[in-house]
Amino acid sequence: MEDITFFELEDEEKKLLLDTLGFEVNKKGVIVEKESKKPCLCPITDEMVHFKNASILPGSTTIINTSAFTLTEYFSKFLEKE
């Protein structure tokens, strides 16, 4: 298993990180792709990701709706090695 450190960010820092990685937050508080304005879908829940509840995780930049369940799914699906 790779070593990953987790951090919390202030809203402003989080917006800047999203912006740097090609995303932005629309008026409804949903994270969208900067170029296409398409809402970012959580790969675990298939639902739109709201800024407040978003985790930005490594592995082709995965943005998920955060819960113990989605984090567990993410770790198993994207980070666990055989």
């Binding site: 990953i4 951090f7 919390e8 740097t20 990685l21 995780l57 055989e82």
Partner: protein, 252 residues
């Protein structure tokens, strides 16, 4: 204006948090912003960090993957679909009582939606402490019957997960000694290869007496079973007792 060597050096030595804090100040010139963003993307591609509303929770769930029980199960069954639920169950079992109640209530719906009742059973396997006995059982089969991961994954599916309700008995305080004894004997008569009896706190007194009696009068060994008991205290100081009954493999 080109970036000064000094600023470039400074940016190159910063981590993502420091770089984001620098960006927030808004004091950088355009070239500086470009360099900082480039450095953030480079660091991001190294996959060393993640950002989440509750960093402690994320780190704890992530680290469950380093727990001995988790690693041993993975060693037995490989990348089995249930591992993610085992991870969640192990995380839940480490929380305090209030934390567990809140999380279980919140999470059960998610698990059911994706994995159905099977998913709940697997999560329960980790939260009840039965997992260690299941791992022991699979490890033993691996050695004694020289089974590979595929074989063990099939056994884990068919003999444990799919029949979880049939191979588990949660003793309640109101259960009578006679009723407990009858149920355990019935499970042995069914020749189930492995089954579990669980009891929390005060509810453990009766099964303790019953199992001791069944052991002393030879019922358990006559039916070709052996049993072991483990107890674990949860964060609310409740003790959960788990008895594992295993059918002894005949020599011939």
């Amino acid at each position: 204006m080109p970036l000064s060597a000094e600023l470039f050096q400074k940016i190159s030595s910063m981590d993502i948090n420091e770089l984001l804090a620098l960006l927030v100040t808004g004091k950088l010139a355009k070239e500086g912003v470009v360099a900082v963003r480039k450095r953030i993307r480079n660091l991001w591609n190294q996959r060393k960090c993640g950002f989440t509303p509750n960093a402690e929770e994320a780190a704890t769930i992530y680290k469950v993957g380093q727990k001995e029980a988790y690693k041993r199960l993975k060693e037995c069954v490989g990348s089995h679909w249930s591992l993610r639920l085992i991870r969640l169950g192990l995380y839940i079992s480490d929380l305090n009582d209030e934390g567990q109640r809140k999380l279980v209530a919140k999470t059960k719906g998610d698990i059911y939606k994706k994995y159905g009742s099977k998913g709940i059973k697997i999560t329960n396997m980790a939260t009840t402490g039965a997992l260690s006995s299941v791992i022991e059982y699979l490890s033993k089969l691996k050695i004694e019957e020289n089974l590979n991961r595929t074989d063990l994954a099939i056994i884990f599916d068919t003999e444990i997960i799919e029949v979880w309700d049939k191979i588990t008995f949660f003793v309640k305080t109101e259960d009578s000694e006679k009723g407990i004894s009858k149920k355990i004997v019935r499970m042995m008569n069914q020749r189930i290869r492995i089954f579990f009896v669980f009891a929390y706190g005060a509810a453990s007194i009766k099964p303790m007496k019953v199992i001791s009696k069944l052991s002393n009068d030879g019922t358990i060994s006559n039916k070709n079973y052996h049993f072991s008991m483990i107890s674990r205290k949860d964060k609310a100081n409740w003790i959960l007792y788990t008895w594992t009954f295993e059918l002894i493999k005949p020599l011939f």
